[in-house]
Amino acid sequence: MNPALHPPASATAQSPARSGKNLRLALILLAIVVGSLLFVSVQPGLYRAFCEWTGLYDIDRAQEVAASAIPGRPITLQFDANSHDGALLFRPETTVLSAKTGDIMHVVYRVENTLDRTVVGQAVPSYGPQYAGNYVKKLDCFCFKQQTFAPREVREMPVVFFLDTRLPEEVNTVTLSYTFFEVPVESRK
């Protein structure tokens, strides 16, 4: 070790007075960091409060408003199922239901493949009265895509939907009817 290479005595940057001053400033800057972290941590709450105050974003009230615009009314729902080719035994678990428009409903259909071979089918809905179909809002339905059934398979399949509250007043009963068609090999997806 060469003594000539040692640091000079006057390392001004590290004089105690300056060190203290630097440390104080660093602490102030650290306080800004902490303030910034606090600021971002209250954002979710502030955002919600701001949006509610201005009415920009309020899911709860938006739903209330939507619901109160046209209140739901009692209605009778009928469910029907047909199998076009006879290969599938197809029926609804519930046939009649009393409900309110605007309510989300969940019904189950039961399908049985009566054959010893794989059957690919597609359910096609129809409505009674026909124009009520415009007010049936399906969120999920087995009729959205082709279904493949193993030989002798039994399966329960759901439909989730609601009836638009704008359903014309003269309609008090809506029938939801599905017909299963076997899909020919060349149209299978």
């Binding site: 290479l5 590290q14 400033l25 800057l29 910034s36 941590s41 954002q43 974003y57």
Partner: protein, 536 residues
């Protein structure tokens, strides 16, 4: 890059019992601002090549319509990592490297205020870079959300997203530590006589930038932490299914994200404010207005964030406010451009490589600023949101703005760092290849955007094919031209004409009063501050 013959000891904390570590230990343990500055610069160059390679994968895929080389998922990962690496791994560390090297020398300080913390700030970067790049290889791949990390996609992605989040945390810590260091150094360690209004502009830009970082990096850290808890701990800050709002993330992200744009741009302004006066052989025009413009840009940058969110359904009043506020930023920026041009007015100009890059910056940054004004207009932005017009815009300000300015600074200060002059012919080749290929790569993207080509999609309709070919040629040309930098820097480090202590006759400032290469330790005692070296 540093001549080791001058090195006597590792730093101020090493006393008589220690010698100066050599080999790799020197770099791991160093507290010397010049060593750390060099490491920042080399790190950023490596990340620049990595991020650049990713952009070439993107351009290769886009060379013709259809899917050729990569899957859409991988394409999304590439564009995300390209952006994160270029912003946090290349451009920001490059300017921190300049800050480390130059700020103590510009203000006559012996080192940064917190030398040990300076070492930590740097050594946090490699782990973050490894997390980011290694995330490509984990199941599900890297984050594929774009650098904005928008939920709901960022809530649904695989563990690559978590790695990106942790990388952002680490990078944020590094930036905050670096910024505290820079502010303290600038405010407390200037040589006697150097008042704030005589301080070099690079220091001013970094002072404001460091404050922006200190205030905005915790915001980003908070946003990604909320993402993390939404992903793993059942919270619903941004998850609509649990009553959260993805738009909240966009607000928080851009409240960080817009200052971030100026965190990148301001130091670039600072470098150019040194290079243009030096090669015009005139003092900078309107120093005071420059300082106020920097401060104004820094301040306003916190109040314009939602101009990235015009299509999220913010109300008309909000759209109008953010439109006008965004246009307001163009005023101080315009002041700066005006001052740079006026500095050159009737100067005795020469066109060495640093000046060429500064002029390239000036022209192309102005184009990028102008398209920024176009995008600020709500009605126009709704049409152009997420098209290639936006991609063209921000590459004009990020590449031609920040990168060109970094090159200007590199060639400007390389003689001071290495003691050698770089190869001027190669430097000019580097500039002209970059300038031409950059424009070939990015100018057609304006047309693509106006014609409606969406960004972040690996395939496109036939009618966009021709401009994408042109853009691809430009991108590959630009990418490979950048390898010249490596050649030039390595050549300059190894040898070349001896550089005088003031290799540019028009350059002013304390950094030019020390020999070239700058000794390992400079300004152990505060230097006399000669008015001839004063800025402003």
């Amino acid at each position: 890059m540093q001549a080791t013959s001058h090195t006597g000891y590792a730093g101020h904390h090493d006393h008589d019992s220690h010698g100066h570590p050599t080999g790799w230990k020197r770099w791991v343990t160093t507290t010397n601002h010049k060593d750390i500055g060099s490491m920042y610069l080399w790190f950023s160059f490596v990340m620049f090549l990595v991020g650049g390679a990713m952009s070439l994968i993107i351009r290769a895929e886009l060379f013709t319509p259809g899917l050729q080389y990569v899957s859409p998922e991988f394409y999304n990962q590439m564009l995300t990592l390209h952006a994160l690496i270029m912003v946090f791994g290349a451009i920001m560390p490059a300017f921190v490297g300049f800050a480390n090297w130059m700020i103590p020398m510009m203000i006559g300080a012996s080192d940064m205020a917190f030398a040990r913390m300076n070492n930590w700030s740097f050594w946090l970067l490699p782990p973050a870079a490894i997390l980011l790049t290694a995330s490509i290889f984990v199941p599900g791949g890297a984050a594929g959300t774009g650098w904005t990390l928008y939920p709901p996609l960022s809530i649904q992605m695989g563990m690559g997203m978590d790695m990106a989040i942790f990388a952002v945390h680490i990078l944020g810590m590094s930036s905050i530590m670096g910024s505290i260091n820079i502010v303290t150094t600038i405010l407390n360690m200037r040589t006697p006589g150097m008042t704030l209004m005589k301080m070099p502009l690079f220091c001013w830009t970094w002072l404001v930038t460091a404050f922006l970082l200190i205030a905005s990096m915790p915001i980003l850290a908070g946003a990604v932490t909320m993402l993390l808890t939404d992903r793993h701990f059942g919270t619903s800050f941004f998850s609509a299914a649990g009553g959260g709002d993805p738009v909240l993330f966009q607000h928080i992200f851009w409240f960080f994200g817009h200052p971030e744009v100026y965190i990148i741009a301001l130091p670039a302004f600072g470098v150019v404010s040194h290079v243009i006066p030096a090669f015009s052989r005139k003092p900078l025009f309107g120093y005071v207005s420059m300082v106020y413009a920097i401060a104004a840009i820094g301040l306003i940058s916190f109040f314009v964030w939602a101009h990235h969110m015009y299509v999220t359904g913010i109300p008309l009043t909000g759209q109008l406010y953010f439109m006008y506020a965004t246009m307001l930023i163009a005023v101080p920026t315009g002041v700066k451009v005006f001052n740079w041009v006026t500095t050159m007015w009737r100067g005795s100009l020469t066109f060495e490589t640093p000046m060429l890059f500064a002029l390239g910056f000036l022209v192309l940054f102005t184009i990028g600023g102008l398209t920024g004004l176009v995008l600020a207009m709500t009605a126009v932005d709704i049409q152009l949101q997420d098209t290639y017009y936006v991609v063209a815009h921000f590459h004009y300000v990020m590449v031609a703005g920040a990168l060109f300015s970094a090159y200007a600074g590199l060639y400007f200060w390389l003689p001071k760092w290495t003691g050698h002059m770089y190869n001027e012919t190669l430097g000019k080749w580097h500039f002209w290849l970059s300038m031409i290929f950059f424009n070939i790569a990015f100018f057609p993207q304006h047309f693509l955007g106006l014609a409606g080509m969406p960004r972040r999609i690996p395939d496109y309709a036939q009618q966009f094919a021709d401009f994408n070919v042109i853009s691809g040629i430009g991108a590959f040309g630009f990418g490979f031209s950048q390898l010249l930098v490596l050649v030039i820097v390595v050549q300059t480090v190894r040898g070349g004409a001896r550089a005088a202590s003031r290799p540019w006759d028009g350059a002013h400032g304390l950094e030019w009063t020390v020999p070239s290469p700058a000794p390992y330790h400079t300004f152990e005692d505060p230097p006399h501050f000669d008015q001839a070296e004063a800025h402003g």
